[in-house]
């Protein structure tokens, strides 16, 4: 009996996909729709990979990943956040954070278990929960709260089936960051409910306001936290598909079990690049962060000048302005901006229902392009009835 599995069929295709198809046919667009750095991977990292290929380093690695890389990751987490993860049995190198997230969910979710997700969030969170046989429980967040969930909402969403709380700060698409006090309270809620915390910290190094708090570093958090991170954003290595998970040994072992059957190991060349990144990439990280921060301030100011209210995103490389004042839905706004001004932003609704009324604009593009794009945004806004850009 043929037919697509119901938990796959029940998930609709990413809202971004439809938009992507429209954009694919257009020429000369300025894209603020990407979710990857406009920097290429620093040359010294690429050069290290070329060298590894020349040496014939093309074999499988341990299912866990190269021990040398896991040791570096362990040391990196220790020095940045003071957390202790044993390279031998607590760190798993994965095919990007995407795989790590899938493994984490499949390792802990039983059919019918619930996983709390805070929206707007990365498009894969709720679908991956469903694919793992669980039920996503969506909690909306709001601009007036800095896109952090209200803790009472979290408490109210807990049930005996709550298996995990999935969060990601700095956040894609809102750019929101979470302070230490907030995360402490969230961990306490997870402790009371005895559930896991799955923390996707892929944007940790791109924190511009305050300092990043690693969830595992909080008191009583490590034993229930599955920490996900990778190299894509901080080291501009998106296409390499290389990430990692750090977790309590039993969870790490369970994730490794799935990983060894479905992926065997992360690509060795990408692992070699990651080794070089941790050994010598710090300067590049700092330079990229400085540059992003300049663009961040500029784009936020330009949105507000154009009459689109935009809060201050403390991390990642996204601005998430409101388009409610224009009277258009976020999809209508994004479409008109694309068709009339050839600028791509992503409608906020793609990241969860409460993202409606907002658009995501990535500032991972050159300053000139950002200025040009924002001039066109201002033109569009000024041309719409019902809005008056404060020009």
């Amino acid at each position: 009996m043929r037919g697509i599995a119901s938990n796959v069929a029940s998930v609709s295709a990413s809202g971004i996909r439809r938009f992507f198809d429209i954009v694919a046919d257009m020429k000369d667009v300025i894209s603020l729709g990407v979710c990857e750095p406009d920097f290429v991977t620093p040359w010294r990292l690429r050069e290290a990979c070329v060298f590894s290929l020349e040496r014939g380093r093309t074999n499988y690695t341990s299912n866990w990943g190269l021990l040398s890389l896991r040791k570096l990751i362990s040391g990196h987490l220790k020095s940045l956040y003071g957390v202790d993860y044993q390279p031998e049995d607590q760190i798993l190198v994965t095919v990007g954070v995407s795989e790590a997230l899938d493994l984490a969910l499949r390792a802990v979710v039983d059919p019918g278990d619930e996983v709390i997700v805070f929206e707007p969030c990365y498009v894969s969170y709720a679908p991956c929960v469903t694919f793992a046989g669980g039920t996503p429980v969506r909690i909306p967040t709001f601009a007036e709260d800095g896109f952090l969930p209200r803790l009472d909402d979290v408490r109210a969403a807990l049930t005996p089936r709550t298996k995990a709380i999935l969060l990601s700060y700095p956040n894609n698409p809102t750019g929101a960051t979470a302070g230490r006090e907030f995360l402490k309270e969230l961990v306490e809620i997870a402790r009371d409910a005895d559930c896991y915390v799955i923390s996707d910290e892929i944007y940790d190094r791109l924190t511009y306001v305050g300092t990043h708090t690693c969830v595992s570093s909080l008191e009583g958090a490590a034993e229930r936290t599955i920490l996900l991170n990778g190299f894509s954003k901080a080291y501009a290595m998106t296409g390499w598909r290389i990430g990692y998970a750090a977790a309590p040994p039993d969870v790490a072992e369970a994730m490794m079990k799935i990983h060894q059957y479905v992926a065997l190991c992360a690509p060795i060349t990408a692992q070699e690049a990651a080794v070089e990144a941790l050994n010598a990439g710090e300067q590049s990280v700092r330079e990229m962060k400085t540059e992003y921060n300049r663009r961040r301030r500029l784009i936020v100011k330009r949105f507000n000048e154009a009459g689109l209210k935009c809060g201050d995103p403390g991390g990642a490389f996204y601005a998430f302005p409101s388009v409610k004042e224009t009277g258009l839905t976020s999809e209508e706004f994004a479409e008109r901006l694309l068709y009339e001004k050839k600028v791509v932003v992503v409608p906020g609704g793609a990241f969860g229902e409460c993202g409606e009324g907002y658009v995501r604009a990535a500032y991972a593009t050159s300053l000139d392009r950002i200025e040009e794009a924002m001039a066109r945004v201002a033109e569009l806004v000024a041309s719409l009835p019902g809005t008056a850009g404060d020009t």
């Binding site: 971004i16 990365y122 894609n172 793609a350």
Partner: protein, 162 residues
């Protein structure tokens, strides 16, 4: 001071940015940025604003040469007096005091190889206390001031990604 250094770094990569733009990038009023830049100009910290030009692409031949010069230093002046004689020539683009085998490195620009060669033999080599010169002509400029002259790669990123 931190502001000054950050502003200088930004201007070093793009000298045409306005005070307003830099102010927006640093979350400071444009007037503050103007003041810092004005002082830096007055203090001679910012020397000049210029474009990085690929003359090959512009279709004009320019000859660049690096001349390594050995000089006998004198008590009191060291190399400075000879350096001054050299850098006053408009043909000299840059001049550095070097460690290593040679003392001064002169970068010269001319319109023909002949012109550069005659400058070296007639002017440079004949200066008092210049003991020797070694000329190296630039055959191709790959990168200058952090700008790579090769064709830029297109942006291969997908226009929309999650």
């Amino acid at each position: 001071m931190k502001d000054l250094h950050e502003i200088l770094t930004i201007l070093e990569s793009d000298g045409r940015l306005t005070a307003e733009q830099i102010g927006d990038m640093l979350d400071r009023p444009a007037a503050d940025i103007e003041k810092v830049i004005g002082e830096a100009e007055a203090d001679g910290i910012i020397r000049r604003y210029k474009a990085v030009v690929d003359w090959d692409r512009a279709g004009q031949e320019r000859v660049f040469a690096f001349i390594d010069v050995k000089v006998t230093p004198t008590r009191g002046a060291g190399f400075d007096d000879v350096a001054e004689r050299i850098y006053k020539f408009p043909e000299v683009v840059s001049l550095y005091l070097m460690s290593g085998e040679y003392d001064l490195r002169v970068i010269i620009q001319g319109s023909t190889m002949q012109e550069v060669a005659s400058f070296v033999s007639n002017k440079l080599a004949t200066i008092d206390r210049v003991r020797s010169t070694a000329s190296h002509f630039v055959l191709k400029r790959y990168k200058e001031d952090r700008e790579i002259f090769a064709e830029k790669d297109a942006d291969h990123r997908l226009a929309v990604t999650p």
